[in-house]
């Protein structure tokens, strides 16, 4: 494969430079992160007018607010006067966004409302906050930092809507959140997510919860494992599909045919499991259509919006995985656990049980990703061959090299 100057041997990992070069990191931001639709949070973080939070990526800081009209908007956290950060806390509630430096004040729609002592020629209308494009679907807030018109959101989100609807993300709320600051290039973090070849040696908890053949065949995403294991697991999936179809639930899969990283799939949990938990029991009340319908279908839903954000969902909870590039060798991996909005802590769910699997698993991932980065910095590093269980990573790096080469 040869893509405008970035070549890669088929079936081999990428060259060192993609993981260590600050100029390539800058290109990653410009060509990918700043043009993609980026998931920033669930709207239950800002339920009330005036609620806001700050989202950071690279050197950018973005304010996401809910207006008096309940509409969610996003702005660069940069005062139009002399550039100060306006919001200096990570979240809160404000009726007016007042810059702490000179008190320029913006309303929740980003309009400059007051600026003392300005020259007569000064027109407040010209000095609104720099807006980011924002779209919300089913409670999931996406922003786009593009300076031009952003990619069409509807075609971006459309194929994934049924899966979000099925799980009732629009009626969810955040039960817990945790950041894992990781000393590695963001692509090593994402690669780790797109394969489960490492699960056997590194994640005893995940291997206890999931079926061995499932892990091999579909652990890094649908059909990302060896053909024989995909085949071996076919019957299990087929039987479950019949069952869930009878219950009236969606059982489709989706793959982006345009080479993007969007995907969605539904597969069964291990026999007897109702949720992705230590004992297979449910850890929270049913969500979405499962609540209204025929009950738990013992399914497991995997949705990727793009390289930065994915969802792993049982019938009773969803986990958001967000990979946020900070610097060439530093990435924030943030996890959000979503449950039904009416679930009550310690009555309907316990945070410890809800978060058990992916907390302990991400603690381990942070460690192995950082070890990966250390070795990749060596002059002895060279592209190595992928296994049959790493087809998800192959897709990822093909997609990446395509993006970065255009």
């Amino acid at each position: 494969m040869k893509k405008n100057g970035h070549s890669k041997q088929n079936g081999f990992s990428m060259e060192q430079k993609f993981y260590v070069d600050p100029n390539i990191f800058q290109a990653d931001l410009e060509k990918i992160a700043y043009v993609d639709w980026l998931f920033v949070d669930h709207d239950s973080r800002i339920p009330n007018p005036g609620d806001y939070f700050v989202f950071n990526i690279g050197k950018e800081s973005i304010i996401v607010t809910r207006g008096k009209d309940s509409i969610i908007r996003a702005f660069f956290n940069v005062c139009r006067h002399r550039g100060s950060h306006i919001c200096t806390e990570s979240e809160g509630n404000k009726q007016v966004l007042v810059c702490p430096y000179h008190a320029w004040s913006y309303d929740l729609e980003g309009n400059l409302k007051s600026a003392r002592s300005m020259p007569e020629t000064f027109d407040k209308k010209e000095w609104s906050l720099i807006k980011c494009h924002v779209q919300v679907y089913a409670g999931m807030i996406f922003i786009n930092l593009s300076k031009q018109d952003p990619r069409d959101f509807n075609s971006f989100i459309a194929p994934l809507k049924p899966y979000m609807d099925l799980h009732g993300l629009g009626d969810a709320r955040i039960a817990f959140r945790k950041k894992f600051l990781t000393n590695a290039n963001w692509k090593l973090c994402v690669e780790n997510f797109y394969e489960c070849y490492h699960c056997t040696p590194s994640h005893p908890e995940y291997c206890k919860v999931h079926d061995k053949t499932f892990i091999s065949a579909h652990g890094g995403g649908l059909n990302t494992g060896p053909d024989e294991d995909i085949k071996k697991y076919e019957k299990t999936i087929k039987e479950w599909k019949n069952k869930t179809e009878n219950l009236g639930y969606l059982n489709d899969s989706y793959t982006d045919e345009t080479g993007g990283m969007r995907s969605a799939s539904r597969t069964p949990l291990p026999n007897g499991f109702l949720s992705e938990t230590v004992n297979g029991k449910m850890t929270a009340p049913l969500m979405g259509q499962f609540k209204q319908g025929q009950g738990n279908d013992c399914g497991y839903t995997n949705v990727s919006f793009n390289a930065f954000t994915s969802l792993l969902m049982s019938n009773d909870h969803a986990v958001v995985f967000n990979f946020i590039p900070n610097d060439t060798l530093n990435t924030t991996m943030e996890l959000l656990w979503l449950i039904d909005k009416d679930a009550k802590e310690d009555i309907d769910y316990k945070v410890k049980d809800l978060t058990w699997l992916w907390d302990i698993t991400t603690v381990a991932d942070k460690k192995i990703i950082e070890n990966n980065q250390k070795g990749v910095l060596s002059r002895a590093y060279m592209p190595g061959p992928y296994s049959n269980q790493e087809k998800g990573v192959v897709q990822l790096v093909d997609w990446y090299l395509n993006q970065i080469s255009t």
Copy 2:
């Protein structure tokens, strides 16, 4: 305005690069900091022969000594042998400057006095410490790091002498000093000092002490505010000028007509105030001509030597503000509180009362300056319009762009 490649829109803040680019920071040092006369300390810090202190700027370390002849000299803290720092403590008393590495020994005039085992051709006279140009006026020590002949000191200091004399800085001593290490480009720190547009939202203490119209009209330096407030405050100044003239004190102002950043002004404190303190009462004994003369004239004196150093003075104390560039995104803001040399701690003054206003105010400034830097790092930052209260910053950036463009 177009200055040899550095353009700026009139009335707007500077482009991002001036606050974030390491090459421009290096140019700032070479073209400004290393050719300007730099205030380093008050000579009361080294009252006795052999006393010394070390002054740091950028990667430079300068030893300032008082010789046996009581003359103050300054040297690069770099041994002529193999380059070691010679003084490794921030201050002390030494009769001989002995390099801790190989014991090359220099007298307090920088002459190499002993170097063991050197070749016969070696001539000690050729290996004196590299001198910095030093000038002292009224206790204020200035150095110049220029490799060539420095700018004329006398013409530099002459216009400011009457103000220094009035306040008796030559008979002062340091009562307290404090460093504020600030994660921001030095120009953001200095800009903060040259405007009081931020005082209303950020400095309740300052606003309690000073008159509202004064703050607007003159808070960032004489006549740096809106014309209407300057006008509104004219009568107050005029009445006070008459009063202080009758007392026999200087009541002039000085502005550098050559585009430099030197200035001096005298304005009244608020009605009933004798000093810039929490209650307007004096916080220390009268200084300088006030002590010898007709007593307190309720004036407030603002002197700037250049962009790096300014003085704010009441009749009973002076505060030195020194802004020292360390690195592109790091600056030391150091404050010195000066009082009459005969004042006795806890009898004539309390450090807590003396330092109250500018300590609490600089703590706040450090914070807002660091927020400013964070936003200026964003790709969304772009030059914004100055208010009518930021004429001091306009002068500053005009001066700066002029310096950096030559």
Copy 3:
């Protein structure tokens, strides 16, 4: 002297760039550290099959193992799969080297033994760990990171063998080790080792142990001091040489005539001293030929393998000095104290007594080297003249400039 673009005035220290420029540091690694034979440890650190340790230099991490066949081997700590570090602890015992990421497993000879789910075309034989060249003589393990055939080890080690044999390093073991992480370029650390001009001002302990004339004439290596002191000390050496020759011991010296940094010398300890200790008494049992032969000959042996590693040896113990470049301004100085393998702690030797001199001396050296670096960063630094006691440094920098210029 003019060497392909790198000029230096004879008898003067090197220009600033060699101590501060990241590009020159990178060249130091490529042209010197990665082609030289590097001492990494004494083989008594890994006595048993499966024992291993990790050696770090620059951004490289090297695993040194002892195989089931007791042979010592070295590998880049980089998994051939996706580049992860394989060993994440500094030492241990392993029968198989299992990558913590995807469990690719290598035997102690570096052969890939297992890799799950690889494509059919995958041939394990092609994916052994990247080997480093390894050679061991008298327990001293050397590696070579060269990608090509390394320099001939035998001709490298041959001239030094008799000195290593005399002191029985092959029958030694490590009694103590200590790392001194030093914020300075590696060349400032090595320069410090190659001269004793700084011993009088900086090392009272060393000066208490050694004769003043010896320090001046030979403290930085044989004949690195002023001619008059070399002459003055001739008789002492001659008398001791006669004595040790009568005892049947080696009393030669060796200097690399090809301009390399290898050397070896034997000189007497001060009158009445049996070992380089606080009171001149032995601190451990005799080693090597002294044990088998006519007892202590009161000699002191100085061996340099290259710029990175030297040995200082009494009849009863040896100290290894290893200077390991980490980054432009950061170096690890690691000391190993070697004693006879049969010596028992607290019965035959006390660590505190054994390590007293070079621990306290290296603590002081770290400090003065870091002060040296600080001054060398100044724009006032310029090459200074060497004393007659710094002939060892002159040889060092001549050698260095030669290496870096080819």
